[in-house]
Subunit: 504 residues, 2 copies
């Protein structure tokens, strides 16, 4: 009887997952393929599919079906498919059923309509044209917060959407640690840093190179796509349909690092236990954990010395003009240079978290109406000056640079910095478990890392909580900023000669 | 009260249209973009979205809502939005509500699963590997027919899905006329024909050329896409998101003609009255009418003398090697040469309808179990020999060439020939209405034709029946094969010197 009910739950959830993956395709297509004229009707389509998924999931019928299975599920092993599915569905249902379907649809429609407005505003450095849609997205997000009981801070509600169980207070604590320990490190590095070198990279050869790197990482055409877009992201419609996107510059190689970053996201989704497919367990457990994977491949792998020992000769062959005068070691130093800059996604490891802290503070201020929204560019620019010591010349390079607010995603940014911290926690475990891991990169051996990540992290999908998942992969259920700062100090000491350990 | 009910109907139908356009995107993506690994999960997604749309549309609630509006709708002008929406929804509901949701979902899942099997079978010339999925599609199609009362012939049921109101008997009558009048014309032309010339067209320059042609036709990046695929088709998610696809060959220019063909389909959807968007009236009225538009742009425009007077010099500039020794007139004759060949989509205007007749006869035989399905290749090859006088060397060039049966579409093929016939009926009216129309092509003037088609045909969408629509655009509600045969005879008489009018 319960088995039958469970089967019914599984089927119903599978249908909802089909709809949410369909939403993912509608969104991917919108950003990568859709002719611009499609924007208004796409907004309706996304609102409709989103609303149907929401109504189906939050129905009272679904609620009682889940309820009726709680006892039965608890008789199964904690991390069995059965127990996990019922537990995760129950938790999701509790949160989602508090949000009216119309509000959910409105959020989705508003996001779809705002997206092309943001693209234009960013292109034309025109914050004013973006302001009305941003205001609309923000108002909807406040109405969303109003659906819940706020225990502590309103921002907790949106943060929890991306990082289940995380509290604003805890993030603040972590970020304070970074301000105390990472910021001085950056200052030391900047003081010893040279000016930036100028390069000119040809785009077709960048594409050849990134494909070669991806192939060694494990990207296979059978299950993956890579496309150009305005603001890179990873998406897909299932474990065997992974889509990553990137963009190209001629004066820098950020496209490559972006591609490796999105590969990390893609690999997480690709290595989830196939038995979880078409269930709500078949995705990464949280955005912070997801970001740990993208940052791991982008930085801990892609900016490592062994990686460049392997790939530098080929890159130089493809880009002889840009790299004349470089050898692998000099290039390694170049891609790890600490230089405060304007664009978050292109920021170096030293300054990246500071960009995130700016957004974290601004989002809390927006939610709390701490200043009129018209002032957002000023508020942005002021903080960038304060934390990074640089002036923001245009809103395109400032407040308009990120896609998130156009899609109504508030509470998302902190997960980027959490991901950095987690990536270093995981790295300490992986390198302890796999002696010689990094040296293997020099010989193109990336499979041991991918396999280790599958085994300790990826395969679990969303079966466990973020904290439980962290426990499995890093041996602790708390995010700890120390390993990241240690890692950074070690790397920068090798490049800039600053002390390898912090002073007393 | 009724106005409110109507508003409810409009809203409900809009939601269903959103789902069906979402289906269109899932299908477009599947054939143009999806990594192969995505096939199994895509099948589930399409089945789910299709099932939800079907369940929503065929609900008893929807039925009574439509019923309650019949009287009110009849008080409106026949071709008003209100009257048309209720009338068309009522007719659609009557047919759709006879089909159980599970069968509908099964048909859609089976089609999605069969599609990649067909791609492989076609590539590997392996009919056997395709047979099980074809059998499954056919069985499901028979179960579908069983949902209806058959008045006359079972094939009527599937034919009516693509060409509402058309009867198998009527198609047979039209095709008999073609056998009597078109087939002899082909024989005369073939007897006077030279062997085929061999060319070598570079693909990048084909792409440049087709983009230039499309730009003059009215293709704009803002609302259109063009992509390569295995089996070209037109699709899209709305009036302002039109997607056409094509493929390229190096030994012939069929890619260009295919592109112009799909442009004709796209233009029909693009020029529908924007006020009909998100309603079931916002698409072409029938596949025959749709095909009349694709064939019109492909053949009546794209194979006309004035078209090539305009574009030949540019084509020669781009493909000097392939076209050495050609001038516009000789090239015009080349692209209109009658040469029986194996592939329907590449067939010339003289032989095309014969390919369709083969499929029409085979489909009726399959539905009627007239032979074991294993024999399909033999049956195919025998008829190609009989009607076209050529041997089929491989199933890839024979029974496996078309996508339709892999997607379960049976009853579709006849509409291709009906489209040819309608295109000539429309052409006689358009050229009578717009003196100098064809001469204008020589000066790049294609807008008058596009505008005329918008006004007389496209804008109506699906408001009227196919017969009523035909009446508006061609002045008669019957498909008449005579104009097509007249057109063909006139063209071939100019090329092969056969008599310009039929003998006594």
């Amino acid at each position: 009887m319960s088995q039958e009910k469970f089967e019914e739950l599984r089927q119903r959830l599978a249908e909802i997952v089909d709809l949410s993956k369909t939403m993912a395709l509608l969104a991917w297509d919108q950003q990568v393929m859709m002719p611009r004229g499609g924007a208004p009707i796409r907004a309706e389509q996304m609102a409709t599919v989103g609303r149907i998924a929401h109504v189906k999931f939050t129905s009272a019928e679904m609620g009682s079906l889940i309820d009726s299975l709680r006892g039965w599920a608890e008789e199964h092993e904690y991390d069995s498919f059965e127990a996990s599915l019922v537990r995760v569905a129950a938790r999701d249902w509790e949160k989602a059923s508090k949000v009216p379907a119309d509000l959910r649809a409105e959020i989705s429609r508003s996001a779809a309509l705002a997206q092309p407005v943001w693209v234009d505003a960013r292109k034309n450095n025109d914050f004013e044209s973006f302001l009305p849609v941003l205001r609309r997205n923000l108002d909807l997000r406040k109405r969303y917060i109003d659906c819940f009981d706020v225990d502590d801070e309103p921002y907790d509600i949106v943060l929890d959407d991306f990082e289940r169980g995380m509290k604003t207070k805890e993030v603040r604590r972590l970020f304070d640690y970074l301000k105390e320990h990472q910021a001085p490190l950056v200052k030391e590095a900047v003081a010893r840093s040279n000016g930036s070198a100028s390069h000119e990279f040809t785009i077709p050869e960048q594409k050849v190179f990134e494909r070669e790197v991806l192939a060694e990482f494990g990207f296979q055409e059978h299950d993956w796509r890579l496309d150009p877009t305005v603001h890179p992201f990873a998406s897909g419609t299932g474990i065997t349909d992974i889509r990553i996107t990137t963009r190209y510059f001629t004066d820098k190689l950020e496209g490559l690092f972006g591609t490796m970053h999105e590969f990390g996201h893609g690999l997480y989704e690709h290595q989830i236990d196939p038995g979880l497919e078409r269930s709500p367990l078949a995705r990464g457990v949280s955005l912070g954990m997801h970001e740990s994977q993208s940052r791991l491949w982008e930085n801990l792998v892609g900016r490592s010395r062994p990686f460049w020992r392997r790939f530098f000769p080929r890159l130089k062959e493809l880009q002889p003009k840009a790299l004349s005068g470089y050898d692998a070691e000099r290039w390694y130093r170049e891609v790890n240079a600490v230089r405060p800059s304007l664009i978050r996604v292109e920021a170096d490891e030293g300054t990246y978290n500071l960009h995130v802290i700016v957004r974290f503070e601004l989002e809390q201020a927006m939610i709390g109406d701490e200043f009129p929204l018209e002032q957002l560019p000023e508020e942005w620019n002021r903080r960038i000056w304060e934390y990074l010591g640089i002036e923001v010349p245009t809103d395109t390079e400032g407040v308009l640079q990120d896609v998130h607010w156009s899609s109504g995603s508030i509470g998302y940014f902190p997960t980027y910095a959490l991901g950095n911290l987690i990536s270093a926690q995981i790295w300490e475990r992986a390198t302890a478990d796999l002696p010689g891991l990094e040296d293997g990169f020099e010989h193109g051996e990336f499979a041991p890392l991918a396999d280790w990540l599958r085994e300790h992290l990826h395969r679990h999908g969303r079966k466990l909580t973020p904290a439980e998942t962290l426990e499995r992969v890093a041996g602790t259920d708390r995010i700890d900023p120390a390993p990241y700062v240690r890692y950074l100090r070690r790397k920068l000491s090798g490049i800039y000669g600053i002390p390898a350990t912090a002073g007393p």
